[in-house]
Protein backbone atom coordinates (compact mmCIF):
# COMPACT_ATOMS: atom_id res chain seq x y z
CA UNK A 1 0.00 0.00 0.00
CA UNK A 2 1.39 3.39 -0.98
CA UNK A 3 1.57 6.03 1.72
CA UNK A 4 -0.51 9.09 0.92
CA UNK A 5 0.51 11.35 3.77
CA UNK A 6 3.99 11.00 5.22
CA UNK A 7 4.22 7.30 6.04
CA UNK A 8 0.52 6.80 6.56
CA UNK A 9 -1.67 4.98 4.11
CA UNK A 10 -5.19 6.05 3.32
CA UNK A 11 -6.51 3.36 5.65
CA UNK A 12 -4.45 4.71 8.55
CA UNK A 13 -5.78 8.20 8.03
CA UNK A 14 -9.36 6.95 7.96
CA UNK A 15 -8.75 4.96 11.15
CA UNK A 16 -7.21 7.97 12.83
CA UNK A 17 -10.08 10.21 11.77
CA UNK A 18 -12.66 7.71 13.03
CA UNK A 19 -10.86 7.38 16.39
CA UNK A 20 -10.57 11.14 16.75
CA UNK A 21 -14.23 11.79 15.92
CA UNK A 22 -15.26 9.06 18.34
CA UNK A 23 -13.08 10.22 21.19
CA UNK A 24 -13.40 13.98 20.78
CA UNK A 25 -16.97 14.39 19.56
CA UNK A 26 -19.06 11.27 20.09
CA UNK A 27 -17.91 10.22 23.56
CA UNK A 28 -18.20 13.67 25.22
CA UNK A 29 -21.64 14.24 23.67
CA UNK A 30 -23.20 10.90 24.50
CA UNK A 31 -21.50 9.90 27.72
CA UNK A 32 -22.48 12.24 30.51
CA UNK A 33 -22.13 10.08 33.61
CA UNK A 34 -18.95 10.84 35.53
CA UNK A 35 -18.49 7.18 36.33
CA UNK A 36 -17.50 6.39 32.76
CA UNK A 37 -14.79 9.01 32.70
CA UNK A 38 -13.33 8.52 36.13
CA UNK A 39 -13.49 4.74 36.28
CA UNK A 40 -13.20 3.54 32.72
CA UNK A 41 -12.02 5.97 30.07
CA UNK A 42 -9.25 7.70 32.02
CA UNK A 43 -7.67 4.52 33.43
CA UNK A 44 -8.09 2.91 30.02
CA UNK A 45 -6.05 5.63 28.32
CA UNK A 46 -3.40 5.63 31.06
CA UNK A 47 -3.00 1.87 31.11
CA UNK A 48 -3.05 1.65 27.31
CA UNK A 49 -0.15 4.09 27.30
CA UNK A 50 1.76 1.98 29.81
CA UNK A 51 0.95 -1.09 27.72
CA UNK A 52 2.46 0.60 24.66
CA UNK A 53 5.60 0.96 26.75
CA UNK A 54 5.47 -2.72 27.60
CA UNK A 55 4.85 -3.51 23.91
CA UNK A 56 7.96 -1.64 22.84
CA UNK A 57 10.24 -3.62 25.08
CA UNK A 58 8.45 -6.96 25.01
CA UNK A 59 6.37 -7.10 21.84
CA UNK A 60 8.78 -5.32 19.52
CA UNK A 61 12.21 -5.89 21.01
CA UNK A 62 11.40 -9.30 22.46
CA UNK A 63 12.87 -8.63 25.89
CA UNK A 64 10.76 -10.18 28.61
CA UNK A 65 10.47 -7.39 31.12
CA UNK A 66 8.22 -7.25 34.13
CA UNK A 67 8.45 -3.98 35.93
CA UNK A 68 6.17 -1.56 34.15
CA UNK A 69 4.49 -0.47 37.38
CA UNK A 70 7.86 0.40 38.90
CA UNK A 71 8.54 2.83 36.07
CA UNK A 72 5.00 4.15 36.44
CA UNK A 73 5.69 4.85 40.11
CA UNK A 74 8.92 6.60 39.18
CA UNK A 75 7.00 8.78 36.71
CA UNK A 76 4.19 9.53 39.15
CA UNK A 77 6.44 10.55 42.04
CA UNK A 78 8.74 12.49 39.74
CA UNK A 79 5.70 14.41 38.56
CA UNK A 80 4.61 15.13 42.13
CA UNK A 81 8.04 16.40 43.09
CA UNK A 82 8.49 18.43 39.93
CA UNK A 83 5.19 20.25 40.35
CA UNK A 84 5.99 20.77 44.02
CA UNK A 85 9.58 21.89 43.68
CA UNK A 86 9.93 23.22 40.14
CA UNK A 87 6.54 24.85 39.50
CA UNK A 88 7.94 26.82 36.57
CA UNK A 89 8.08 23.70 34.44
CA UNK A 90 4.31 23.62 34.05
CA UNK A 91 2.21 20.50 33.68
CA UNK A 92 3.36 19.44 30.23
CA UNK A 93 7.00 20.17 31.00
CA UNK A 94 6.81 18.19 34.24
CA UNK A 95 5.14 15.33 32.41
CA UNK A 96 7.96 15.15 29.89
CA UNK A 97 10.67 15.42 32.53
CA UNK A 98 9.05 12.72 34.67
CA UNK A 99 8.99 10.51 31.60
CA UNK A 100 12.70 11.19 31.13
CA UNK A 101 13.43 10.36 34.76
CA UNK A 102 11.59 7.07 34.35
CA UNK A 103 13.60 6.52 31.14
CA UNK A 104 16.77 6.90 33.19
CA UNK A 105 15.59 4.08 35.43
CA UNK A 106 14.70 2.15 32.28
CA UNK A 107 18.26 2.37 31.03
CA UNK A 108 19.60 1.27 34.41
CA UNK A 109 17.33 -1.75 34.68
CA UNK A 110 17.59 -2.54 31.00
CA UNK A 111 21.31 -3.19 31.22
CA UNK A 112 20.90 -6.80 32.43
CA UNK A 113 19.22 -7.55 29.08
CA UNK A 114 22.65 -7.49 27.48
CA UNK A 115 23.71 -10.55 29.45
CA UNK A 116 20.58 -12.46 30.37
CA UNK A 117 17.56 -13.31 28.31
CA UNK A 118 14.14 -14.88 28.50
CA UNK A 119 12.67 -15.79 31.84
CA UNK A 120 15.89 -14.87 33.65
CA UNK A 121 15.66 -11.34 32.32
CA UNK A 122 12.10 -11.20 33.59
CA UNK A 123 13.36 -11.98 37.08
CA UNK A 124 16.15 -9.43 36.72
CA UNK A 125 13.74 -6.69 35.65
CA UNK A 126 11.57 -7.41 38.67
CA UNK A 127 14.33 -5.61 40.55
CA UNK A 128 13.08 -2.33 39.10
CA UNK A 129 9.64 -2.99 40.48
CA UNK A 130 10.88 -3.57 44.01
CA UNK A 131 13.75 -1.12 44.02
CA UNK A 132 11.77 1.91 42.89
CA UNK A 133 8.90 1.27 45.31
CA UNK A 134 11.36 0.66 48.13
CA UNK A 135 13.26 3.83 47.31
CA UNK A 136 10.10 5.94 47.42
CA UNK A 137 9.03 4.38 50.70
CA UNK A 138 12.44 4.61 52.29
CA UNK A 139 13.33 8.21 51.59
CA UNK A 140 10.77 10.64 52.87
CA UNK A 141 11.92 13.35 50.50
CA UNK A 142 10.10 11.70 47.60
CA UNK A 143 6.82 11.99 49.47
CA UNK A 144 7.67 15.44 50.81
CA UNK A 145 7.84 13.93 54.35
CA UNK A 146 4.16 13.21 54.36
CA UNK A 147 3.39 10.84 57.19
CA UNK A 148 -0.12 9.80 56.16
CA UNK A 149 1.11 7.45 53.43
CA UNK A 150 -1.28 8.80 50.83
CA UNK A 151 -0.50 12.15 49.27
CA UNK A 152 -3.11 14.07 47.39
CA UNK A 153 -2.04 14.87 43.87
CA UNK A 154 -1.88 18.52 42.92
CA UNK A 155 -4.52 19.92 40.59
CA UNK A 156 -3.69 19.90 36.92
CA UNK A 157 -3.14 23.42 35.65
CA UNK A 158 -2.19 23.99 32.04
CA UNK A 159 -1.45 27.54 30.91
CA UNK A 160 -3.21 28.93 33.94
CA UNK A 161 -6.39 26.98 33.32
CA UNK A 162 -7.43 24.30 35.80
CA UNK A 163 -8.32 20.86 34.47
CA UNK A 164 -10.23 19.35 37.33
CA UNK A 165 -13.52 18.05 35.96
CA UNK A 166 -13.56 14.43 34.80
CA UNK A 167 -14.21 15.53 31.22
CA UNK A 168 -11.27 17.94 31.25
CA UNK A 169 -8.99 15.27 32.68
CA UNK A 170 -10.20 12.87 30.04
CA UNK A 171 -9.14 15.35 27.39
CA UNK A 172 -5.73 15.76 28.99
CA UNK A 173 -5.20 11.98 28.96
CA UNK A 174 -6.57 11.73 25.45
CA UNK A 175 -4.24 14.40 24.10
CA UNK A 176 -1.13 12.90 25.71
CA UNK A 177 -2.06 9.37 24.68
CA UNK A 178 -2.81 10.39 21.11
CA UNK A 179 0.48 12.20 20.64
CA UNK A 180 2.54 9.43 22.21
CA UNK A 181 0.68 6.72 20.29
CA UNK A 182 1.40 8.46 17.01
CA UNK A 183 5.07 8.80 17.93
CA UNK A 184 5.20 5.13 18.92
CA UNK A 185 3.61 4.17 15.60
CA UNK A 186 6.13 6.21 13.67
CA UNK A 187 8.97 4.54 15.49
CA UNK A 188 7.49 1.06 15.17
CA UNK A 189 6.99 1.43 11.44
CA UNK A 190 10.25 3.17 10.72
CA UNK A 191 13.84 2.09 10.90
CA UNK A 192 13.76 2.17 14.72
CA UNK A 193 11.02 -0.44 14.85
CA UNK A 194 12.75 -2.60 12.28
CA UNK A 195 15.86 -2.66 14.47
CA UNK A 196 13.76 -3.65 17.48
CA UNK A 197 12.08 -6.48 15.60
CA UNK A 198 15.35 -7.65 14.10
CA UNK A 199 16.78 -7.99 17.61
CA UNK A 200 13.62 -9.82 18.68
CA UNK A 201 13.54 -12.28 15.80
CA UNK A 202 17.23 -13.13 15.38
CA UNK A 203 19.76 -11.15 17.36
CA UNK A 204 22.88 -12.65 15.79
CA UNK A 205 21.72 -11.81 12.28
CA UNK A 206 20.74 -8.33 13.42
CA UNK A 207 24.24 -7.80 14.74
CA UNK A 208 25.73 -9.03 11.48
CA UNK A 209 23.66 -6.40 9.66
CA UNK A 210 25.17 -3.69 11.83
CA UNK A 211 22.38 -3.36 14.39
CA UNK A 212 24.03 -2.77 17.75
CA UNK A 213 22.40 -5.01 20.34
CA UNK A 214 23.50 -2.79 23.21
CA UNK A 215 22.09 0.37 21.75
CA UNK A 216 18.88 -1.17 20.49
CA UNK A 217 18.02 -2.95 23.72
CA UNK A 218 18.89 -0.04 25.97
CA UNK A 219 17.01 2.30 23.67
CA UNK A 220 13.92 0.10 23.81
CA UNK A 221 14.08 -0.06 27.60
CA UNK A 222 14.47 3.71 27.84
CA UNK A 223 11.59 4.47 25.50
CA UNK A 224 9.44 1.87 27.20
CA UNK A 225 10.15 3.35 30.61
CA UNK A 226 9.41 6.83 29.25
CA UNK A 227 5.96 5.69 28.16
CA UNK A 228 5.37 3.94 31.48
CA UNK A 229 6.57 6.99 33.38
CA UNK A 230 4.21 9.35 31.57
CA UNK A 231 1.40 6.82 31.94
CA UNK A 232 2.15 6.54 35.67
CA UNK A 233 2.03 10.29 36.11
CA UNK A 234 -1.32 10.50 34.33
CA UNK A 235 -2.58 7.48 36.25
CA UNK A 236 -1.78 9.17 39.56
CA UNK A 237 -2.91 12.67 38.66
CA UNK A 238 -6.02 11.95 36.60
CA UNK A 239 -7.28 8.62 37.87
CA UNK A 240 -6.11 8.00 41.45
CA UNK A 241 -5.76 11.71 42.27
CA UNK A 242 -3.41 10.58 44.97
CA UNK A 243 0.07 9.15 45.24
CA UNK A 244 0.87 6.03 47.10
CA UNK A 245 3.56 3.48 46.27
CA UNK A 246 1.15 0.62 46.98
CA UNK A 247 -0.89 1.56 43.92
CA UNK A 248 2.06 0.61 41.73
CA UNK A 249 2.64 -2.87 43.08
CA UNK A 250 3.55 -6.00 41.20
CA UNK A 251 -0.12 -6.71 40.51
CA UNK A 252 -0.26 -3.68 38.25
CA UNK A 253 2.87 -4.86 36.42
CA UNK A 254 1.19 -8.19 35.79
CA UNK A 255 -1.98 -6.47 34.67
CA UNK A 256 -0.01 -4.52 32.08
CA UNK A 257 1.77 -7.68 31.01
CA UNK A 258 -1.60 -9.40 30.49
CA UNK A 259 -2.92 -6.43 28.55
CA UNK A 260 0.14 -6.66 26.36
CA UNK A 261 -0.18 -10.39 25.71
CA UNK A 262 -3.96 -10.55 25.32
CA UNK A 263 -3.96 -7.46 23.12
CA UNK A 264 -1.31 -8.89 20.86
CA UNK A 265 2.46 -8.76 21.16
CA UNK A 266 4.09 -6.42 18.72
CA UNK A 267 1.05 -4.30 17.91
CA UNK A 268 0.18 -0.78 18.99
CA UNK A 269 -3.57 -1.14 18.62
CA UNK A 270 -3.31 -4.34 20.66
CA UNK A 271 -2.31 -2.20 23.63
CA UNK A 272 -5.66 -0.41 23.49
CA UNK A 273 -7.65 -3.59 22.88
CA UNK A 274 -5.89 -5.44 25.69
CA UNK A 275 -6.30 -2.57 28.15
CA UNK A 276 -9.97 -2.19 27.28
CA UNK A 277 -10.60 -5.88 27.68
CA UNK A 278 -8.93 -6.22 31.05
CA UNK A 279 -10.58 -3.07 32.40
CA UNK A 280 -14.04 -3.69 31.02
CA UNK A 281 -14.30 -7.39 31.63
CA UNK A 282 -14.76 -7.11 35.43
CA UNK A 283 -17.29 -4.34 34.87
CA UNK A 284 -19.18 -6.59 32.48
CA UNK A 285 -19.09 -9.51 34.88
CA UNK A 286 -20.38 -7.31 37.68
CA UNK A 287 -23.16 -6.05 35.47
CA UNK A 288 -24.12 -9.61 34.59
CA UNK A 289 -23.98 -10.57 38.26
CA UNK A 290 -26.23 -7.71 39.26
CA UNK A 291 -28.67 -7.67 36.39
CA UNK A 292 -29.00 -11.30 35.38
CA UNK A 293 -28.65 -12.92 38.76
CA UNK A 294 -29.87 -9.91 40.74
CA UNK A 295 -27.07 -10.07 43.24
CA UNK A 296 -27.64 -13.75 43.98
CA UNK A 297 -23.96 -14.35 43.35
CA UNK A 298 -21.61 -12.96 45.94
CA UNK A 299 -19.25 -10.20 44.78
CA UNK A 300 -16.21 -12.13 45.98
CA UNK A 301 -17.24 -15.10 43.86
CA UNK A 302 -17.59 -12.83 40.85
CA UNK A 303 -14.09 -11.50 41.32
CA UNK A 304 -12.82 -15.07 41.65
CA UNK A 305 -14.62 -16.03 38.44
CA UNK A 306 -12.90 -13.07 36.83
CA UNK A 307 -9.47 -14.46 37.75
CA UNK A 308 -10.42 -17.91 36.50
CA UNK A 309 -11.60 -16.55 33.16
CA UNK A 310 -8.48 -14.39 32.74
CA UNK A 311 -6.25 -17.36 33.45
CA UNK A 312 -8.18 -19.51 31.01
CA UNK A 313 -8.08 -16.85 28.32
CA UNK A 314 -4.33 -16.43 28.72
CA UNK A 315 -3.81 -20.13 28.16
CA UNK A 316 -6.20 -20.25 25.22
CA UNK A 317 -4.54 -17.26 23.57
CA UNK A 318 -1.05 -18.61 24.12
CA UNK A 319 -2.04 -21.85 22.41
CA UNK A 320 -4.29 -20.71 19.59
CA UNK A 321 -3.42 -17.10 18.88
CA UNK A 322 -0.11 -16.06 20.44
CA UNK A 323 -0.41 -12.77 18.63
CA UNK A 324 -3.48 -11.86 20.65
CA UNK A 325 -6.70 -10.01 20.01
CA UNK A 326 -5.24 -7.56 17.55
CA UNK A 327 -4.35 -10.49 15.30
CA UNK A 328 -7.76 -12.04 15.85
CA UNK A 329 -9.38 -8.80 14.77
CA UNK A 330 -7.07 -8.69 11.74
CA UNK A 331 -8.05 -12.25 10.81
CA UNK A 332 -11.74 -11.48 11.10
CA UNK A 333 -11.34 -8.45 8.87
CA UNK A 334 -9.38 -10.52 6.35
CA UNK A 335 -12.07 -13.20 6.25
CA UNK A 336 -14.71 -10.55 5.79
CA UNK A 337 -12.93 -8.93 2.90
CA UNK A 338 -11.91 -11.98 0.93
CA UNK A 339 -12.61 -15.64 1.10
CA UNK A 340 -9.16 -16.33 -0.33
CA UNK A 341 -6.59 -17.48 2.23
CA UNK A 342 -3.56 -15.30 2.73
CA UNK A 343 -1.19 -17.92 1.37
CA UNK A 344 -2.37 -17.47 -2.22
CA UNK A 345 0.36 -15.08 -3.18
CA UNK A 346 2.98 -17.59 -2.06
CA UNK A 347 1.37 -20.31 -4.09
CA UNK A 348 1.15 -18.13 -7.17
CA UNK A 349 4.81 -17.25 -6.89
CA UNK A 350 5.67 -20.91 -6.66
CA UNK A 351 3.55 -21.95 -9.59
CA UNK A 352 5.09 -19.20 -11.68
CA UNK A 353 8.53 -20.60 -11.04
CA UNK A 354 7.80 -24.19 -11.87
Amino acid sequence: MKPVFMTYTKKDLINLAVCMVLSVLVIPTFITTEYWYTSILIPWLCLALATIGQQIVMGYTGQLALGAAGFMAAGAFAMFNLILRVPDLGFVGSLIVSGLIAAGFGILFGLPSLKVRGIYLMVATLASQFFIIWMIDKFGWFKNYDSSGIITAQDIVILGKPFTTPLAMYFVCLAVTTVLTLLAMNMARGSTGRNWMAVRDMDIAAESMGVSLLRTKVQAFAISAFYCGVAGALFAFCYLKSLEPVAFDIKLSFKILFMCILGGLGTINGAFIGAAFILLFPVLLNAIGNNVFHGAIDATIISSIEQVIFGGLMIIFMIYEPLGMAKLWENIKQKWKTKIPSSTNIKSSLSKKT
Binding site: L183, M187, S191, A206, M209, N345
Partner: protein, 264 residues
Amino acid sequence: MALERKFKIGKPILEVKNISLSFGGVKAITDTSFDVLEHEVRAIIGPNGAGKSSMLNCINGIYKPQQGTVSFKGKEVPNITPNIMAQMGLSRTFQNLALFKRMSVLDNILVGRKLHTKTNFLEVAFQLPKVKKEEKLNRDRSEEIVSFLEIEDIKDTPVGKLPYGLQKKVELGRALATDSSIILLDEPMAGMNVEEKRDMCRFILKVNDELGTTMVLIEHDMGVVMDISDRVVVLDYGKVIGDGTPDEVRSNQKVIDAYLGVEH
Protein backbone atom coordinates in the same frame (compact mmCIF):
# COMPACT_ATOMS: atom_id res chain seq x y z
CA MET B 1 31.33 -17.38 -17.30
CA ALA B 2 31.53 -13.97 -18.85
CA LEU B 3 34.45 -13.54 -21.17
CA GLU B 4 35.21 -9.98 -20.19
CA ARG B 5 34.61 -9.11 -16.54
CA LYS B 6 33.44 -5.65 -15.69
CA PHE B 7 35.25 -5.87 -12.36
CA LYS B 8 38.74 -7.34 -12.82
CA ILE B 9 39.99 -9.56 -10.03
CA GLY B 10 42.32 -7.43 -7.96
CA LYS B 11 44.40 -7.43 -4.82
CA PRO B 12 43.56 -9.47 -1.70
CA ILE B 13 40.64 -7.91 0.15
CA LEU B 14 40.42 -10.44 2.96
CA GLU B 15 43.34 -12.32 4.43
CA VAL B 16 43.01 -15.05 7.03
CA LYS B 17 46.29 -15.87 8.73
CA ASN B 18 47.06 -18.87 10.93
CA ILE B 19 43.62 -19.16 12.44
CA SER B 20 43.23 -21.81 15.11
CA LEU B 21 39.94 -22.37 16.87
CA SER B 22 39.03 -25.00 19.40
CA PHE B 23 36.00 -25.68 21.51
CA GLY B 24 37.30 -27.12 24.75
CA GLY B 25 39.48 -29.98 23.60
CA VAL B 26 37.98 -30.22 20.13
CA LYS B 27 40.04 -28.55 17.48
CA ALA B 28 37.73 -27.10 14.84
CA ILE B 29 40.34 -25.20 12.83
CA THR B 30 44.11 -25.62 12.98
CA ASP B 31 46.51 -23.04 11.63
CA THR B 32 44.51 -22.12 8.56
CA SER B 33 45.50 -19.37 6.16
CA PHE B 34 44.04 -18.25 2.87
CA ASP B 35 43.10 -15.05 1.12
CA VAL B 36 40.25 -13.71 -0.94
CA LEU B 37 40.88 -11.40 -3.89
CA GLU B 38 38.72 -8.42 -4.69
CA HIS B 39 35.80 -9.15 -7.04
CA GLU B 40 36.37 -12.89 -7.15
CA VAL B 41 34.06 -15.77 -6.33
CA ARG B 42 35.86 -17.80 -3.73
CA ALA B 43 34.58 -21.12 -2.49
CA ILE B 44 35.39 -22.94 0.72
CA ILE B 45 34.60 -26.61 0.37
CA GLY B 46 35.18 -29.69 2.45
CA PRO B 47 33.39 -32.67 3.90
CA ASN B 48 31.00 -32.37 6.84
CA GLY B 49 32.69 -31.14 10.00
CA ALA B 50 35.70 -29.79 8.14
CA GLY B 51 35.36 -26.45 9.91
CA LYS B 52 33.90 -24.45 7.05
CA SER B 53 31.14 -22.71 8.98
CA SER B 54 33.46 -22.17 11.94
CA MET B 55 35.82 -20.46 9.52
CA LEU B 56 33.11 -18.04 8.38
CA ASN B 57 32.11 -17.42 11.98
CA CYS B 58 35.71 -16.51 12.77
CA ILE B 59 35.91 -14.10 9.85
CA ASN B 60 32.62 -12.50 10.84
CA GLY B 61 33.45 -12.31 14.55
CA ILE B 62 30.82 -14.63 15.95
CA TYR B 63 33.58 -16.97 17.13
CA LYS B 64 36.81 -15.67 18.58
CA PRO B 65 39.73 -17.78 17.37
CA GLN B 66 42.42 -18.58 19.93
CA GLN B 67 45.14 -17.78 17.42
CA GLY B 68 45.55 -16.00 14.14
CA THR B 69 44.42 -12.77 12.55
CA VAL B 70 41.93 -11.58 10.00
CA SER B 71 42.87 -8.64 7.78
CA PHE B 72 40.17 -6.89 5.87
CA LYS B 73 40.81 -4.26 3.21
CA GLY B 74 44.49 -4.24 4.08
CA LYS B 75 43.93 -3.63 7.78
CA GLU B 76 44.26 -6.16 10.54
CA VAL B 77 41.05 -6.18 12.58
CA PRO B 78 42.00 -6.55 16.25
CA ASN B 79 38.68 -7.10 18.04
CA ILE B 80 36.38 -8.63 15.51
CA THR B 81 32.68 -8.44 16.25
CA PRO B 82 29.87 -8.97 13.73
CA ASN B 83 29.02 -5.32 14.12
CA ILE B 84 32.52 -4.02 13.33
CA MET B 85 32.81 -6.28 10.30
CA ALA B 86 29.41 -5.11 9.07
CA GLN B 87 30.52 -1.52 9.38
CA MET B 88 33.71 -2.28 7.47
CA GLY B 89 31.66 -3.68 4.61
CA LEU B 90 31.35 -7.39 5.20
CA SER B 91 27.98 -9.06 5.12
CA ARG B 92 26.91 -12.67 5.42
CA THR B 93 24.16 -15.25 5.31
CA PHE B 94 23.73 -18.13 7.71
CA GLN B 95 23.67 -21.87 7.27
CA ASN B 96 20.45 -22.46 9.16
CA LEU B 97 18.65 -19.34 7.99
CA ALA B 98 18.74 -16.43 10.39
CA LEU B 99 15.92 -14.35 9.01
CA PHE B 100 13.57 -12.13 10.97
CA LYS B 101 10.65 -14.54 10.78
CA ARG B 102 7.78 -12.31 11.76
CA MET B 103 8.82 -9.47 9.49
CA SER B 104 7.91 -9.19 5.82
CA VAL B 105 10.40 -9.91 3.05
CA LEU B 106 10.79 -6.21 2.31
CA ASP B 107 11.31 -5.37 5.99
CA ASN B 108 13.97 -8.06 6.25
CA ILE B 109 15.81 -6.54 3.34
CA LEU B 110 15.30 -3.06 4.82
CA VAL B 111 17.10 -4.15 7.99
CA GLY B 112 20.07 -4.77 5.72
CA ARG B 113 20.01 -1.02 5.02
CA LYS B 114 20.69 -0.32 8.70
CA LEU B 115 24.19 1.02 8.10
CA HIS B 116 22.82 3.44 5.52
CA THR B 117 20.32 4.76 8.06
CA LYS B 118 21.72 7.68 9.98
CA THR B 119 18.60 9.11 11.60
CA ASN B 120 17.97 8.43 15.30
CA PHE B 121 14.78 7.30 16.99
CA LEU B 122 13.59 10.79 17.89
CA GLU B 123 13.87 11.94 14.32
CA VAL B 124 11.99 8.82 13.27
CA ALA B 125 9.31 9.39 15.92
CA PHE B 126 8.67 12.91 14.65
CA GLN B 127 9.04 11.89 11.00
CA LEU B 128 11.34 14.76 10.11
CA PRO B 129 11.79 15.45 6.38
CA LYS B 130 15.25 13.89 6.37
CA VAL B 131 13.82 10.66 7.79
CA LYS B 132 11.33 10.49 4.96
CA LYS B 133 14.05 11.16 2.42
CA GLU B 134 16.30 8.49 3.87
CA GLU B 135 13.45 5.99 4.20
CA LYS B 136 12.54 6.55 0.57
CA LEU B 137 16.13 5.98 -0.57
CA ASN B 138 16.35 2.80 1.50
CA ARG B 139 13.00 1.57 0.25
CA ASP B 140 13.92 2.23 -3.36
CA ARG B 141 17.15 0.31 -2.97
CA SER B 142 15.34 -2.56 -1.27
CA GLU B 143 12.73 -2.67 -4.01
CA GLU B 144 15.55 -2.80 -6.54
CA ILE B 145 17.00 -5.83 -4.77
CA VAL B 146 13.56 -7.43 -4.59
CA SER B 147 13.16 -7.16 -8.34
CA PHE B 148 16.77 -8.18 -8.92
CA LEU B 149 16.06 -11.42 -7.06
CA GLU B 150 12.68 -11.80 -8.78
CA ILE B 151 10.70 -11.99 -5.54
CA GLU B 152 8.34 -9.05 -6.12
CA ASP B 153 5.19 -11.07 -5.54
CA ILE B 154 6.16 -12.17 -2.03
CA LYS B 155 7.64 -8.95 -0.75
CA ASP B 156 4.86 -8.32 1.79
CA THR B 157 4.66 -11.90 3.07
CA PRO B 158 6.08 -12.66 6.51
CA VAL B 159 9.30 -14.55 5.89
CA GLY B 160 8.38 -17.37 8.28
CA LYS B 161 5.60 -18.44 5.92
CA LEU B 162 7.85 -18.85 2.90
CA PRO B 163 9.30 -22.13 1.64
CA TYR B 164 12.96 -22.83 2.32
CA GLY B 165 14.33 -21.98 -1.10
CA LEU B 166 12.71 -18.57 -1.12
CA GLN B 167 13.95 -17.85 2.40
CA LYS B 168 17.50 -18.49 1.23
CA LYS B 169 16.91 -15.96 -1.52
CA VAL B 170 15.62 -13.39 0.95
CA GLU B 171 18.70 -13.90 3.06
CA LEU B 172 20.87 -13.20 0.04
CA GLY B 173 18.78 -10.11 -0.57
CA ARG B 174 19.29 -8.89 2.97
CA ALA B 175 23.06 -9.33 2.62
CA LEU B 176 22.94 -7.48 -0.69
CA ALA B 177 21.05 -4.57 0.82
CA THR B 178 24.03 -3.70 2.96
CA ASP B 179 25.93 -2.75 -0.22
CA SER B 180 28.90 -4.57 1.28
CA SER B 181 32.04 -5.11 -0.70
CA ILE B 182 32.17 -8.74 0.35
CA ILE B 183 29.44 -11.24 1.12
CA LEU B 184 29.99 -14.53 2.92
CA LEU B 185 27.43 -17.16 1.95
CA ASP B 186 27.14 -20.10 4.31
CA GLU B 187 25.78 -22.99 2.25
CA PRO B 188 23.50 -20.90 0.06
CA MET B 189 22.32 -23.97 -1.80
CA ALA B 190 21.88 -26.48 1.00
CA GLY B 191 18.59 -28.30 0.85
CA MET B 192 17.64 -26.94 -2.55
CA ASN B 193 16.55 -28.88 -5.59
CA VAL B 194 18.51 -28.76 -8.85
CA GLU B 195 16.47 -25.98 -10.29
CA GLU B 196 16.68 -23.80 -7.20
CA LYS B 197 20.42 -24.42 -7.09
CA ARG B 198 20.79 -23.31 -10.66
CA ASP B 199 18.78 -20.23 -9.84
CA MET B 200 20.95 -19.42 -6.84
CA CYS B 201 24.14 -19.87 -8.88
CA ARG B 202 22.77 -17.49 -11.45
CA PHE B 203 22.13 -14.86 -8.77
CA ILE B 204 25.53 -15.27 -7.19
CA LEU B 205 27.23 -14.79 -10.53
CA LYS B 206 24.93 -11.93 -11.43
CA VAL B 207 25.73 -10.09 -8.20
CA ASN B 208 29.43 -10.66 -8.71
CA ASP B 209 29.24 -9.60 -12.31
CA GLU B 210 26.99 -6.55 -12.07
CA LEU B 211 27.95 -5.16 -8.68
CA GLY B 212 31.48 -6.49 -8.41
CA THR B 213 30.75 -7.86 -4.94
CA THR B 214 33.34 -10.34 -3.74
CA MET B 215 31.59 -13.60 -2.91
CA VAL B 216 32.86 -16.19 -0.48
CA LEU B 217 30.70 -19.28 -0.40
CA ILE B 218 30.67 -22.51 1.48
CA GLU B 219 29.24 -25.50 -0.26
CA HIS B 220 29.64 -29.20 -0.22
CA ASP B 221 28.18 -29.87 -3.63
CA MET B 222 31.47 -30.05 -5.56
CA GLY B 223 29.87 -29.82 -8.98
CA VAL B 224 28.16 -26.50 -8.37
CA VAL B 225 31.22 -24.95 -6.77
CA MET B 226 33.58 -25.88 -9.56
CA ASP B 227 31.30 -24.25 -12.11
CA ILE B 228 30.93 -20.86 -10.51
CA SER B 229 34.01 -20.12 -8.47
CA ASP B 230 37.28 -18.57 -9.52
CA ARG B 231 39.29 -20.18 -6.77
CA VAL B 232 38.55 -22.89 -4.27
CA VAL B 233 40.03 -23.64 -0.87
CA VAL B 234 39.48 -27.13 0.48
CA LEU B 235 39.31 -27.79 4.22
CA ASP B 236 39.44 -31.16 5.90
CA TYR B 237 39.61 -31.71 9.66
CA GLY B 238 40.18 -27.99 10.11
CA LYS B 239 43.21 -27.81 7.82
CA VAL B 240 43.70 -26.50 4.31
CA ILE B 241 44.41 -29.44 2.02
CA GLY B 242 44.06 -27.69 -1.29
CA ASP B 243 43.89 -24.16 -2.63
CA GLY B 244 43.69 -23.00 -6.23
CA THR B 245 41.56 -22.86 -9.33
CA PRO B 246 38.81 -25.47 -9.66
CA ASP B 247 40.95 -27.47 -12.09
CA GLU B 248 43.95 -27.50 -9.78
CA VAL B 249 41.82 -28.54 -6.84
CA ARG B 250 40.09 -31.24 -8.85
CA SER B 251 43.39 -32.92 -9.67
CA ASN B 252 44.81 -32.54 -6.15
CA GLN B 253 45.37 -36.02 -4.73
CA LYS B 254 44.70 -34.96 -1.12
CA VAL B 255 41.34 -33.50 -2.12
CA ILE B 256 40.39 -36.62 -4.00
CA ASP B 257 41.33 -38.70 -0.98
CA ALA B 258 39.32 -36.51 1.38
CA TYR B 259 36.23 -36.72 -0.77
CA LEU B 260 36.43 -40.26 -1.97
CA GLY B 261 38.34 -41.82 0.92
CA VAL B 262 41.62 -43.68 0.73
CA GLU B 263 42.56 -47.29 1.07
CA HIS B 264 44.40 -48.01 4.25
